[in-house]
Symmetry: C2
Subunit: 531 residues, 2 copies
C-alpha cells in the first residue's frame, strides 16, 4: 500500500482580470440593481434572465471591439463540435431570445435584464473581464416615443440610485444624421455599397473623387473624441497619430477636407437643442448632398434630424428638459449595430484622477436603436431600442461621491465565556434574531476572550453580549456598546466616560429590549454625525 | 463593388441544457433569494460574490460525479496556456476565496453566496446545465454549534420562502459514524491506508479476511438508498443490479455479510433520536471494533455519535425539535469531501410524478462539514461547515404547492388613438408612474386598435386607458377595467354588467385617482377569490 503521490498545491487566486466582491460591495450592488429594476418595472418592462452561455453563432460578431471580430469572448468547443461562449453583453442574447420566442412574446416586447457579462480582453487596472450590466430594451417598436422613453427612464434610474439632478446629463444623437454627413462627404458606406450596379458603374465616372472608406473605422475614430479632442480625431481620420505611449496609430486615410467636416459635425452642438439642430441642418446642406438626394440617398440625414427633434420634443413635454437631455453630435457610440438614435448618460461632476487632476466622471450608460439585430436570425427587420447601464462604473461614481457605505453594520456578537453553556448562548441569539436583530454566537475557539472581542471589532459589530458564570448566577448579562466604546476610547473625557458608560449590566430578560435601545441610539448618533 | 456573401442565418436557440427565465419566474426567484438572503444575513453571515470563472486547478476534482473527475465542468484554455472553468458549485470557490484572503477575513468567516453554477453534464428533462445555488458556510469553526446553527438556519430559510412547518424535515447524520461502521466491517478506507507500515504488514497476517474497497464507492452506492431501497443497495454493494432500463450496474464487490451490515446501519433510524443513537451504538459494537480501537482507529465512530448527539441537543434546546430535525443514518450525501456531520432538507408533502404516482417531493438542500477543502490550498486544515439550497428545486416545490404566482400583474396600458398626440399619452403615463403605478404607453403600430387591446391582454394588464379626439375635447378619458371585463365576459348576468360596468368615463384630471381605485378593488377581489 504505497502512499499516493500528492499533486502540488493549487494557487489560491482568482484568474487574472477577475475578482471577488465582499459584504458591503455585494449589498451596494444588490441595492442598485433593485432600485434600477424597480424603475424599469414601473415603466412596464418585464424581467428576463437569459442563459449566461450562448452558441458562438448566436452571439455573432457584434463585439464592441470590432477590430477583433470573434475574439473577445470566452468560448469552448463541445464534444459535439458546437462552440459555446459566455455572453459579452445582454443585447445579443435579447435578439436571440426574441427571435426564439417571438410567437409567445407580446409585441412590442419590453424587457429588462441584469447580470454579469464576460469579455476576454486584456485585463488592466480597474478593467475586469467579468462585470455587471443592467439593460432595458423595447423590441418591436419603431416609434421615437420608445427612444424618448428609454432616455426618460435612464434619468429616473440614475436619480433612483442617488445621482442627483444636475450631476448627470443624457446626451442624444442620431446615427442617421452622421450617415447623412458621411454621404455628403462622398465617403463610402453600406447604403452606397448596396446601390444597383448601373449606379455604381456611373459612380466611377461621375464620382471619381469618392473616397471609399470603412464607415465603421470613421465611427470608431470619432468615438474617441472625448479622449483625444478635435485635433486628435482629425489626425486619426487622416494620416495617423502618436498616442501617449509614443506608439503610432494608423490613420483612417480620408482627405483632410472631409475629416475636418466630420469634426465640424461633432462640434456642431449649439447653446440649445434648437441651435444644434439648425447647425446640423446647415452642415448637411453641403454641396454634394443635393446631388445625392436625387438618388434617394440623402434623406437619411433629414430623417435623422427629424427623429432627434421628435425625441427632444417628447422628452421636453414630459419635463425632461435641457438640464437633463441635450442633443450632442459628438455622441456616436462605437458599436456598429446602431441604426438611429444613440444616447449616453454622463456624470458631470468632477473627480480627481490617479494623477490628482480634475476630470469629469464620464459615461455610465449608453444605448440606442438597433433595427438589424433580430434580422440576423429571422431575416425580418425588427425595430429595437434600449439602454445598458454599466453598474460597476455607476457604483464607482457613487463611491466617489461618498454615497455608498464602505462597510456594513456587523452582527451583535454573543461571546462564549463557558463553552459548556452553548445552549444558553444559542437561546440568546435566537431571541435577538426573532426580534429582527442581526446576531450570532462566537463560533471560533472561545479560549481567548480577547480574540472574541477582536473578532467583533473586525466584523464591525455594534454590540457584544457577555454572560459568564457569575452573570448567569445573578440572572444578568453584560452588554458592551462597541461603537460608543470605540468613540469614547478615541476622544472622551473622564466625565463623558462616566456619563455614558459603554458597558453595563442588564437583567437577562431585558436583553433584547436593551440591545434594541442601543442599536436605535447608535443609529441616531450616526444620523447626527455621519462622519 | 461585389456584394459580400452572406453567411447563413444563425439558429435562434439556447444551447442544449440551457434555458431562459421570463417575468414571473425571474421575480419568483429574486424574491426567494432575497428571503433566504435575509435569513442568512440575520444569522450574521456576510455576502460574498466570487468570480464565476476559476482556474481549473483551483476548482479541483471535487465534482459531485466523482466517476468522472475533471469532467463535468465547462473549461477552456487561455492563450497563456492556463485553463479556466465556470464554477460548478459555490463551495470550491469559497475554499479558494478563504485561502486567498484569509489574512483579511474574520475568523470564523461566515459567508453566504447566491448565483448560478454550471455543470457540463448530459442535459435531460428538467435537468439543466446552469442552475442557481444559495449557500451559507462557516469557515474556521470546529464547533458543533456551527453545524447546529446551519440546520436551524435552513429551517428558518425554508419557512421564510413559504414552506410550512410540517412540510419539511432536516435529516442529519455524521460521516464519522459511517466510517466507524465501515471500519468495523474491515472495509478499507483512508484511515487504514495511512496506517504505519508495521501495522499494514501485520494486517496481512492478522486480517487476511479484510476487504479493501473504495469507501467512495460505498458512499455513492448508499446515497442511492432513497431511489433503490434496501434491496437495491444490497445488490449494488455486492454483485450488481439491473436498473430500470435493463442495463446492468456493476456491484462494488463487498461481501454479502458486510453489505447487509451497511444496510442495517442505514435502516437504524428509531422512533426518536435517542433510539436511533442507541441503535447506532449497538451496531458499532461489532466484533472487530474493539480490536481496531486499540489501534486508535475505532473512536471515529464514537466521536461521530457524540457529535450527532450534541447537534441534536443544541437544536432541541433552541426549539428545533424532532418535528423538524431528525437523526437519520440513511443520509450520507454523495460528495466525497464531507468529514463529519451531513444534513439534508427534505420536503415531505406528496406530489404526483409524471406517471401520476404519488411520491414525496424529496431533497431541496443539503450540506455538511468539510474540513479539508481549504487545506488543498494552504496545507493547513481549516474546519468548515455549510449548506447549499437548490433554488430551482425549491421554486418547483412552491409551484407544486400553488404558492407561486404563475403570472405577474402587467402594466396599465395607455392606448394610442391619435399618434400625433403622443406627448399627451406620455404625460398620462408619467402621472401614473409618479403615483407608483406600473404603466406604459402602447408603442407598437397604433393603427389597429384591437391589437392594442390584445397586447394589453397578453401583458395581463389590469387597466387600459383610452383618449380619442372626442374624449380629449370633452376633457375626459375612458378607463377599461380589464380584469373585471374578462370576468364579466365569462359569466355575468345582464344585471351584473349594468351594476358594475367594466368601462367608464372619468374626468382627465381624475385619471390617477380612479386607476388607483380600480387597482385596489381588483386586489381585494383577488384576495376574496384567489382562484
Amino acid at each position: 500500500m504505497a502512499k499516493t503521490r500528492k499533486s502540488p498545491r493549487p494557487k489560491a487566486e482568482t484568474p487574472k482580470g477577475f475578482r471577488d466582491y465582499f459584504g458591503a460591495d455585494v449589498a451596494a450592488r444588490d441595492n442598485m440593481l433593485r432600485a434600477i429594476g424597480e424603475v424599469y418595472h414601473r415603466y412596464g418592462f418585464e424581467a428576463l434572465e437569459s442563459s449566461a452561455v450562448e452558441t458562438v453563432e448566436a452571439l455573432g460578431k457584434f463585439l464592441p471591439d470590432v477590430e477583433r471580430p470573434n475574439e473577445g469572448v470566452f468560448a469552448w468547443e463541445e464534444e459535439t463540435g458546437d462552440w459555446l461562449a459566455l455572453r459579452y453583453d445582454l443585447t445579443a442574447p435579447l435578439a436571440r431570445v426574441f427571435a426564439q420566442h417571438r410567437n409567445d412574446l407580446p409585441s412590442p416586447y419590453r424587457r429588462y435584464a441584469m447580470g454579469p457579462v464576460w469579455r476576454n480582453e486584456k485585463p488592466g487596472p480597474g478593467r475586469f473581464r467579468q462585470f455587471y450590466q443592467c439593460d432595458a430594451d423595447t423590441v418591436g417598436s419603431a416609434s421615437m416615443a420608445a427612444d424618448a422613453e428609454v432616455c426618460a427612464m435612464l434619468c429616473d434610474a440614475l436619480e433612483a440610485v442617488g445621482i442627483e439632478r444636475g450631476d448627470y446629463v443624457v446626451r442624444i444623437n442620431n446615427r442617421k444624421v452622421l450617415n447623412g454627413i458621411l454621404e455628403g462627404l462622398n465617403v463610402d458606406n453600406e447604403k452606397t455599397r448596396s446601390l444597383p450596379s448601373n449606379f455604381t458603374d456611373s459612380l466611377d465616372t461621375k464620382y471619381s473623387d469618392w473616397e471609399f472608406v470603412d464607415p465603421e473605422a470613421v465611427l470608431r475614430t470619432i468615438d474617441k473624441f472625448d479622449k483625444v479632442g478635435a485635433e486628435g480625431v482629425l489626425e486619426l481620420l487622416t494620416t495617423g497619430r502618436k498616442d501617449q505611449s509614443g506608439a503610432f496609430i494608423d490613420g483612417v486615410g480620408i482627405s483632410a477636407q472631409n475629416a475636418s467636416r466630420v469634426v465640424q459635425f461633432m462640434e456642431s452642438r449649439g447653446k440649445d437643442n434648437a441651435e444644434t439642430i439648425s447647425n446640423l441642418r446647415e452642415l448637411m446642406g453641403a454641396p454634394d448632398a443635393n446631388l445625392l438626394a436625387t438618388m434617394g440617398v440623402y434623406n437619411i440625414g433629414a430623417e435623422g434630424l427629424q427623429e432627434l427633434q421628435e425625441i427632444a420634443d417628447l422628452l421636453e413635454a414630459q419635463g425632461y428638459g435641457p438640464d437633463r437631455i441635450v442633443i450632442d453630435p459628438s455622441v456616436v457610440r462605437g458599436l456598429g449595430y446602431y441604426t438611429g438614435p444613440v444616447y449616453e448618460a454622463e456624470l458631470t461632476f468632477e473627480i480627481l484622477d490617479k494623477k490628482g487632476r480634475k476630470r469629469q466622471f464620464g459615461s455610465v450608460a449608453g444605448g440606442g436603436r438597433y433595427d438589424d439585430l433580430v434580422k440576423r436570425f429571422t431575416g425580418q427587420e425588427v425595430p429595437a431600442t434600449g439602454v445598458s447601464i454599466g453598474v460597476d462604473r455607476l457604483l464607482a461614481a457613487l463611491r466617489e461621491k461618498g454615497r455608498l457605505a464602505e462597510t456594513e453594520a456587523g452582527p451583535v456578537v454573543i461571546t462564549v465565556m463557558d463553552r459548556d453553556r452553548m445552549a444558553d448562548y444559542l437561546a440568546m441569539v435566537g431571541e435577538l434574531r426573532a426580534a429582527g436583530i442581526r446576531a450570532e454566537v462566537y463560533l471560533g475557539n472561545p479560549k481567548n476572550f480577547g480574540n472574541q472581542l477582536k473578532y467583533a471589532d473586525k466584523r464591525g459589530s455594534p454590540v457584544a453580549v457577555i454572560e459568564g458564570g457569575n452573570e448567569k448566577d445573578a440572572g444578568i448579562v453584560q452588554i458592551k456598546d462597541l461603537i460608543l466604546g470605540a468613540k469614547l476610547a478615541e476622544n472622551a473625557t473622564h466625565e463623558e466616560w462616566k456619563a455614558r458608560p459603554s458597558q453595563f449590566e442588564v437583567p437577562r430578560d431585558e436583553l433584547v429590549a436593551r440591545v434594541l435601545e442601543i442599536l436605535a441610539s447608535q443609529q441616531s448618533d450616526k444620523q447626527a454625525d455621519p462622519s
